[in-house]
């Protein structure tokens, strides 16, 4: 088999993934606004997913059309989230049992 591209620095990608994971876990304990934390977390997760797809799955070295196939589910999922938005704004529902008696605090 002929290798079409130079091998990327896999260990370098590993350190990036590790660093981003540590930042992600750290972010949830910061006293920032919830929306800001959510945006940061989604941004960090997508960055990590991109690193895995581009370098480990070699998408960076593949043809552009293959990249389009890979990106399609993400586009469709974003559309799906928007399609579900009316449900988000519907009246909030609550578990029947939890209405009468608030849930006990966790034992741990």
């Amino acid at each position: 088999m002929v290798q079409a591209h130079k091998q990327p620095n896999y260990i370098g990608v590993f350190w990036w993934l590790l660093a981003l994971t540590i930042i992600e876990v750290g972010v949830i304990f910061t006293p920032l606004a919830k929306v800001l934390i959510a945006i940061l977390l989604v941004g960090l997760a997508l960055s990590k997913a991109c690193l895995v797809a581009m370098y480990f799955m070699h998408l960076k070295f593949e043809r552009t059309t293959l990249g389009l196939i890979a990106v399609t589910p993400l586009v469709l999922c974003v559309l799906l989230v928007f399609a579900l938005l009316p449900d988000h704004s519907a009246a909030p529902h609550q578990t029947a049992g939890a209405v009468a008696a608030p849930a006990p605090p966790p034992s741990r």
């Binding site: 994971t21 977390l41 990590k48 966790p106």
Partner: protein, 205 residues
């Protein structure tokens, strides 16, 4: 291009237009795109149910983060060993392939063991498919469905890679089969990629 295609130029081309290495690789990419939609639909459904609920618990408090952060680390490590296994077979170093493939399988198996441990504790503490002592019962339903679906993928990946390890051990895998390992590696990295998203959306957010 194969001899058949040279002799019969009007037949389907032997070379995939998107993945010149093999049609199998294109097939795996298309399968993964479809599979990604399954996970995407589950996560989008999770989001819709969560934001429509008034008593959804804070996941990081109920589930804990340290064990799953380590599980994430483990899957990232197994992705690295997988690329090293592929690099091994591509240069004809079958010993490296076997070593790194075995480490990848070990990483997957350890991940599954930790997931079983986590599930057991959560069920014992009062989180089930239809029960949740911390609030919305749908939290339990979606949690077990999404992590279970992912766990099933890891199980499939461990079996998939074990087949290649066995083939390699009995001498039925050579450098010529590097392409098959590349396709298997795509699947394994996808499982890692999905976990990165599941970890963020189900545990951290």
């Amino acid at each position: 291009m194969s001899q058949v295609a040279v002799m019969h130029p009007e037949v389907e081309p032997a070379e995939s237009p998107l993945t010149p290495e093999s049609w199998g690789k294109l097939g795996m990419w298309i399968f993964l795109a479809g599979d990604a939609m399954s996970f995407g639909a589950l996560l989008a459904g999770y989001g819709a149910l969560r934001y429509g609920s008034s008593d959804w618990p804070v996941p990081s408090i109920v589930l804990g983060v340290s064990l799953t952060a380590f599980m994430t680390f483990l899957l990232i490590c197994s992705s690295v060993t997988m690329v090293l296994a592929l690099a091994g077979i591509q240069r004809g170093d079958m010993a490296a392939l076997r070593k790194f493939l075995a480490l990848t399988i070990l990483g997957g198996a350890m991940f599954l063991g930790m997931q079983a441990y986590e599930w057991t504790h959560l069920v014992h503490d009062g989180l089930g498919l239809t029960v949740n002592r911390w609030g919305a019962s749908l939290f339990g339903t979606t949690f077990f469905l999404i992590t279970g679906f992912h766990g099933a993928h890891v199980t499939g990946g461990v079996i998939y890679l074990s087949c290649y390890l066995i083939r390699s051990l009995v001498g039925r895998l050579t450098q010529r089969h590097a392409n098959q390992i590349e396709i298997a590696a795509l699947y394994w990295h996808f499982v890692d990629l999905v976990w990165i998203l599941v970890f963020t959306f189900v545990y951290l957010l």
